[in-house]
């Protein structure tokens, strides 16, 4: 059996202490109560603060339990916040790739479109933020399923709709595809929902590496794929770079 991780045990003790105290506590008080060096206590509290489990009062500088603890079971990153934090990276992805960009999260077994940037050719397009996409037949959806075992199982136990000949509908095909996506760190969808259309997507990660969404582009298959029918490597790089940039911003301090 692996040994105990000391800092996690200490973090749990700090949370218990904050939960049982009537008011807010300062670093000195926390350190004294747990007999920890002040620097150690501070490091742990700061990390707990970064993940939202602890909050610091602006005026007194003291600490209390954070709101995120109360919502542990529900959505971990507000979808509107995800849009706000990714807008600066979704735009250049669309500009560089020349394709439409979408950001999605899972909602009740479907992909909820959280953000949509038009293909930058100034043609008439309709904003589809708020619409729902099938997870097994889109690049965004497959990325999200690849990192969410529960959702993937639910989809496979249902009867995934065959949109085209190429839609993945069997548990075996989906399982294999999702494992490949985890290995590669990105997903492609080629004519699996609409003939002539394709897409590429990559995961957006928050604190601790948790996947909180997916960002991807989509367009005509001859623009997304090269002559051999594989997704163009430059587009894959653009998508992965954008996903990484958003992830880096999400891991930083909250604003």
């Amino acid at each position: 059996m692996p040994g105990q991780v000391q800092s996690i045990a200490r973090a749990a003790a700090i949370l218990r202490l904050l939960a049982s105290s009537s008011g807010r506590l300062g670093i000195g008080e926390i350190a004294r109560s747990l007999d920890l060096p002040k620097g150690t206590a501070h490091g742990i509290v700061r990390t707990l603060q970064d993940v939202g489990f602890v909050e610091q009062d602006k005026t007194s500088g003291k600490y209390q339990l954070g709101a995120a603890l109360l919502h542990l079971g529900t959505s971990y990153l507000d979808v509107n916040e995800l849009r706000s934090r990714s807008i600066n990276w979704a735009d250049p992805l669309a500009a560089r790739s020349g394709e439409a960009v979408r950001i999605g999260t899972l909602l009740d077994g479907k992909v909820l479109v959280v953000h949509h940037v038009f293909r930058p050719d100034d043609t008439l397009q309709t904003l589809d933020v708020g619409s729902l996409l099938p997870p097994h037949a889109t690049a965004l959806g497959k990325v999200l399923l690849a990192y969410d075992v529960g959702a993937a199982n639910t989809v496979m136990q249902g009867e995934p709709e065959p949109y085209t000949r190429r839609t993945l509908v069997t548990a075996r095909a989906l399982t294999r595809a999702l494992s490949e996506i985890r290995d590669n760190g990105w997903a492609a969808e080629i004519e699996e929902m609409t003939p002539g259309k394709a897409g590429i997507a990559a995961p957006i990660r928050g604190y601790g590496g948790l996947v909180v969404g997916a960002i991807g582009l989509s367009g005509p298959v001859d623009r997304i794929c090269d002559g051999s029918g594989a997704p163009r490597p430059t587009l894959v790089t653009y998508v992965r770079d954008a996903a990484r940039a958003v992830s880096r911003d999400l891991g930083a301090a909250r604003w």
């Binding site: 507000d78 509107n80 706000s84 500009a95 949509h116 604003w255």
Partner: protein
């Protein structure tokens, strides 16, 4: 050949950002830092200019590191800044003599009262394009001179310098006490009430009216020209543009032709309409301001509808009421209900700006019943931004005799989908967002890149503009009209709240 880039510094009201742009106008990296908002008394808003300068020193290297570029790959720096906010500092030590008085600050209402009754008041708006209110730098500077012992004498001796944020940053970037350049650009100068809109020079009558010693004023330059070279932060890089943030956004949206307009949704929101090479005076409560000036070309003017409180109402909801923990959560909360439940918030926190210009107004929440939840309040917060936009668009349409056919938008709040849909609904025209939401920074980068030949001309920049999103009106016309009337009645309830005696005591 190694790739070169342009750096924009956007010194905003809430935060300071550094953005690296490539030749196609795409954002390559961004670093941002919020600074402290100080509210020492009701109506007072201050920033620490030294903190802001330190933040510039932090965000610029971070943005460069993120982009993986070095200073020698930077073709130019452009600066966009919160406007009107007033800094006075010691030329020898570089230390600000007082906290910066921010544009939303209303401490000068008594100063303004007195000035309004002074001889010469009737000529002020004709000369500078602005109504006498607490918003602009002139009264703020007057207040500082009145309330800081010995400051007037030191200003006359040239020992202290005045500037808005771009002056403060350029002076520090070019050496500070050690030979720092003391200058401003026409757009920022046009917000002081001290500049003659036609000659683009400080006007002696205005200086006399406000009692401002000329020795403390910066030199007025174009918005796009090489001012000098940075000696710190990005040593060796040319500083080639400065614009007030709203004018920078006009530029970034490539509103280069008369009739082009945009609205930027940040702390406050500002609708600007390009009116070409002649200043146009408004008869519906809009301001006349300089849009931009490129090198030696004639200046381009703009009409402006300024709204003081939009994003800052969201911030107030977050930081003061603590009903949400991040600004975007307002949308989530607002979507928990269908409509405003009959509740309206008019955020006259700093009085009301355009088109009302009522400095004695204060905020109200009306229509409260037991039915109202925090979700309805969140809706009312967002709707306040929509209706305030409608008011300035109506004024703009009335002044220009033309009806706006679509609204170009940018700024932090455009990430709010519910809000953008609501704006389209109440204006009854489509709302469009360009591919670069950070249009303020883009405008500063464009102006700097033009000055050093990084971009050849305006036409090339215009071709970079692409549509990223478009919201089309969906609201039923009868509902729109009913809601508009409710809003109007709510606005009337803010008027006359601050009594004249209280204002006098505040002075």
């Amino acid at each position: 050949m190694t790739e070169s880039y342009v750096v924009a510094i956007d010194q905003g009201t809430t935060s300071t950002r550094c953005i690296v742009f490539d030749r196609r106008g795409n954002l390559v990296s961004v670093a941002q830092r919020e600074h402290q908002q100080h509210f020492p008394r009701p109506g007072w808003v201050e920033h620490d200019a030294a903190e802001i300068w330190r933040n510039v020193g932090k965000v610029v290297p971070r943005a460069l590191a993120q982009a993986g570029v070095t200073a020698d790959q930077i073709a130019a720096i452009g600066i966009a800044n919160q406007r009107e906010s007033t800094v006075v500092w010691d030329r020898r030590t570089g230390v600000p003599v007082a906290p910066a008085i921010i544009w939303q600050d209303t401490r000068t209402d008594a100063v303004v009262e007195t000035l309004t009754r002074s001889p010469g008041a009737e000529n002020v708006q004709q000369l500078c394009g602005l109504p006498l209110t607490t918003y602009f730098s002139g009264p703020k500077l007057r207040w500082l001179l009145d309330h800081t012992p010995g400051l007037t004498e030191r200003a006359e001796r040239g020992e202290v310098l005045f500037g808005t944020m771009e002056s403060w940053l350029i002076w520090n970037l070019t050496g500070g006490p050690d030979g720092g350049l003391h200058l401003t650009d026409v757009t920022n100068a046009s917000r002081t009430m001290l500049m003659d809109l036609r000659t683009l020079d400080w006007h002696p009558d205005l200086l006399a009216f406000f009692g401002i010693p000329a020795a403390m004023l910066p030199e007025i330059r174009s918005s796009s020209e090489v001012y000098g070279t940075a000696t710190t932060v990005l040593p060796g890089v040319r500083i080639a543009a400065a614009l007030g943030d709203q004018q920078a956004a006009l530029f970034g949206q490539t509103c280069f032709a008369p009739g082009d307009a945009k609205c930027t949704y940040g702390t406050g929101s500002f609708l600007l309409l390009n009116t070409g090479p002649e200043p146009v005076h408004s008869s519906h409560g809009l301001l006349t301001t300089v849009g931009y000036r490129i090198g030696d070309e004639p200046a381009v003017y703009a009409l402006e509808g300024s709204i003081a409180i939009t994003g800052s109402l969201v911030q107030w909801f977050r930081d003061r009421l603590e009903l949400i923990s991040t600004a975007p959560e307002i949308e989530t909360l607002a979507r928990t209900v269908e409509d405003n439940g009959g509740c309206y918030i008019v955020p006259a926190f700093s009085g009301l700006f355009a088109p009302h210009w009522r400095s004695e107004a204060r905020g109200v929440i009306v229509g409260l019943t037991s039915y109202i939840t925090k979700g309805h309040l969140a809706r009312a917060v967002l709707e306040a931004t929509g209706w305030q936009t409608r008011e300035v668009v109506d004024a703009m349409n009335a002044d220009s005799g033309l009806d706006l056919t679509a609204l170009r938008v940018d700024g932090g709040m455009t990430a709010n989908n519910l809000l953008m849909q609501f704006v389209a609904d109440v204006l009854a025209v489509p709302v469009v967002r360009p591919m670069v939401a950070e249009t303020v920074s883009l405008g500063a980068a464009y102006a700097a890149g033009l000055a050093v030949g990084y971009w050849p001309d305006l036409e090339g920049l215009r071709r970079n503009w692409h549509l990223a999103a478009r919201w089309v009106p969906e609201m039923d016309a009868t509902v729109r009209e009913q809601e508009r009337q409710n809003w109007q009645r709510a606005v009337e309830r803010t008027f006359g709240w601050i009594k004249p005696e209280a204002r006098a005591a505040n002075g």
